[in-house]
Amino acid sequence: MADIASAAPRQAPAAPRFSIRGALSAAEIDFRLFGMLLALVAILVGFNVVNEGTFLRPENMTTLAVQGAGVAVLATGMVLVIVARNIDLSVGSLVGFIAMSYALLMTNWLPNILGMGDDFPFRWLIALALGVGLGAVFGAVQGFIIAYVGVPSFVVTLGGLLSIRGAVWVLSQGAAVSGLDPTFQLLGGSAQGSIGGTLTWAVAIVGSLAIIALIVYNRRQRRRFGFPVRPMWAEVTIAAVGCLAVIGLAAFANGNYWPVGAATRYAQEHGITEPPGGLKIAVGLPWPVVILIAVTVVMTFLATRRRFGRYVYAYGGNPEAAELAGINTRWTVVKIYILMGVLCAISAAIAAARLNGSTLDVGQSYELYVIAAAVVGGTSFAGGIGTIPGAVLGAFVMQALAYGLAYTGYNSPIQNIVAGIVLVLAVGFDAYNRRRGGGS
């Protein structure tokens, strides 16, 4: 009763006057997500100013995105883990374990045990599939112990963190392993490991069409049932801003060219005479970024459009209510951890591909960055609250800070100090906002 009395008058007078919050809420845009985007832009622009305009260049941003992709992929899953009132501390170790498995599969097990030599078709895909399966199994085991045996997730995954990291050493007998399948290496996002200019434009066009299709579909759906719809100006603005952002990012990514040496080699190999100033081949979107985009889309779909996602949020919001509604909450928790394991396999593929192999400490401390990304992105430990795009943005806010500080010349201890402070500030700001905004 009390909160409706206080909430109603606050909303009513906001409508006639123009305010950013009012416009956003009319357009049904997540205020928090918008704020995060502004924060990210402010950080990037800030470092650009400090570095006299040398920071905001396509090659820097591409590097930043590739470095952040591995953590961001994991953050999309960590959101669901935390929304369902659990935690996963084992992701870093699992990434290390699966990365080492990829390296051993391609250098040793596939050729020597299964007789799949270097020229065996789709060897990289076989390795990837096995890695994904491995991740799913590890996730299922941890999830089962948490959901059905009832050991707290903090304990189970802390055990996972320790023992899986130990298993990495056992796997490789303490050695680093290198020499991956050349196709697999492309997943790491070097200049060659990018999709190139043309495909980047294609991705941008498909993305723009998808944005428009989604808006039209939603409007049709609401019309079909005679529900109130967003004002037309809002629909058009959202579509336009969305498409412009997508196309702008593609143009920006395509402003990054192959390094001179690689371009010259490519020209020689393909019998092209280099124009004066060298051959300019657009790098476009690196594969890790393409993978991250795909993961974000799929995870958002799972979280918001599928029953599974609904059950995760319902369980996080009120576990008892979810149980009483007849939801199989234990199985839901197991599925979350399976998903997290699969995401570890994807993240491990990016990490191993970038290294062209694996070392004992791949994925070390990832769990901390991933949890930080999810939390900075608005995920609440109270359960039930958090979005996947928010977590991805959170990952990039943290990555932008780290990369920007490194670019400006600060070493990693300073980066960690800043990361820690920002983490606490972000959550503090959230708590303050929630209290002020009511409806706690």
């Binding site: 009763m1 909160d3 409706i4 909430a7 049904e28 759906q221 609401r222 079909r224 049932f225 529900f227 779909f301 459009r305 599928r306 029953r307 609904r310 059950y311 949020y313 319902a314 996080g316 919001g317 009120n318 008892e320 209510a321 979810a322 149980e323 009483l324 509604a325 007849g326 939801i327 039930g384 609250i385 409806g439």
Partner: protein
Amino acid sequence: MAVAESEPLVEMSHIRVAFGGVHAVDDVSINLHAGEVIGLVGGNGAGKSTLMKALSGAHPPNSGEIRVEGRRVTIANPRDAKLYNIECIYQTLALADNIDAPGNVFLGRELTTMWGSMDDGAMEDATRKVMGRLNPNFKRFAQAVKSLSGGQRQAVAIARAVHFNARILIMDEPTAALGPAETSQVRDLIRQLKTEGIGIFLISHDIHDVFDLSDRISVMYHGRIVDTIKKTETTADDVLGMIILGKKPEQVTQKELAELQLPGQSPAPNLAS
């Protein structure tokens, strides 16, 4: 009450539920007919909610037998109960606070499109229809139910039970959080559901509500049923006496009656919560 002659919709016999050493429900037998409202009353901790949770699958009984339309059934969890069209509005409402009204109405039974994705449009449409019956002014279909008023939340919880064509409806203190206008809406709803042939267990602390709406009244005391009696054959005073003393009126001694009426020393149970 011609219904009393027909086969009961639900028959619970010799139900026992224990929490550790506490016998929350101790050998209780009760039945319910189609189109009948049973008012279940008793002091705090008498075992009313626990008895109903045995029927709704929220907490299966330790022993005892449940029959639905004469057929012996096992209700091990809420999913089982829903199969028999048993719907329960819990005292705590059991809403997922972070999810909107349509999401809560359809929680666990989401409508899906042909691709298996949730059909939000259809769910909101159905929710608008059922809420139109319960709370015609309700407009906040896109907000998390956390931001709704007590009455609106209650309406969402009731909508969930009503939409799925409950045949057996359990309402655990459905008006405890409501103001007078909302309470009378719920009363009207109960009368309407009754005419539709739904059997209702109504737990309430409001003796007027109980007399107003019920056909029979069951009084619980310390996990047992003191008596189940037709509303027309008892009085509010007798029912209150049974709630407080745990005995049928004819078993109450003069001394007990005197104590009951001594001002300041009344052992009246806390009827507020």
